[in-house]
Symmetry: C2
Subunit: 112 residues, 2 copies
DNA sequence: TCCCTTCATCGATGGACGTCGATATACTAT
DNA sequence: ATAGTATATCGACGTCCATCGATGAAGGGA
């Protein structure tokens, strides 16, 4: 099929190579973890420094299982880490993961 | 440009002030728009330059309404813009919006 | 005019998500 | 051991989302 390109106007060029296999899924999974207001606020809180779950439970007007669920989502996405010390669980941000996502979004910044 | 580390670090205060009202919701809405592999790939494609919907329809193995839906999600999130020229609709990224999200994730990292 | 192409919108559907109460697990203190 | 606190997990429920086929709207060509 060679003639259609001559007769029919072509609006766009050929496909550019896509992201590496699984890259879009990996990025989307982490962005999805950021796609909830509560989790954004949790990350904002953790970005100021380590916090235990009891602090987060007191800060947010949500049930303790719900906070624990959001922390699990953030953990599974690799955006936060937990460390148990005694009875309490302390959470911190994974700065490298956030920086990587930041870099992905910065690629499309205008060169000028 | 805001970052997640907006507020002074206070470790164990149970009632630290949150982000400005609506800020978490606004950020989460845009991150949620990024939380789908197809939309990540669409943005990746658009970051390389303008593209029309027909090109995206050919690139992705999804129905045309589904692509149109994803583009609407990205449009509503302010991450892409559309311009109709003749029969075709051309989409481009909104670089400022992506750059702002990038800055939000650029939390200060300990110099390791 | 009529038809074809491009793109958006509608309505339906199956699955994923946020939230909760109840419960389990783990640690501490008495 | 027993009780109490802190956190995670489970099961359920209502809502939101990604996807599709069908249809509508707008433009171009013969």
């Amino acid at each position: 099929m060679k003639t259609l390109a001559v007769i029919t106007p072509i609006c766009c060029g050929p496909d550019t190579p896509a992201l590496p296999a699984g890259e879009a899924e990996a990025l989307a999974a982490r962005f999805k973890a950021l796609g909830d207001p509560t989790r954004v606020e949790i990350l904002n809180r953790l970005a100021k420094g380590e916090a235990c779950v009891c602090d987060l439970n007191a800060t947010f007007d949500l049930s303790q299982p719900t906070i624990s669920h959001h922390l699990k989502v953030l953990r599974d996405a690799g955006l936060v880490e937990a460390s148990r010390r005694g009875t309490w669980a302390y959470y911190t941000v994974v700065a490298d993961a956030l920086a990587e996502l930041s870099g992905v979004l910065a690629v499309s910044r205008p060169a000028a």
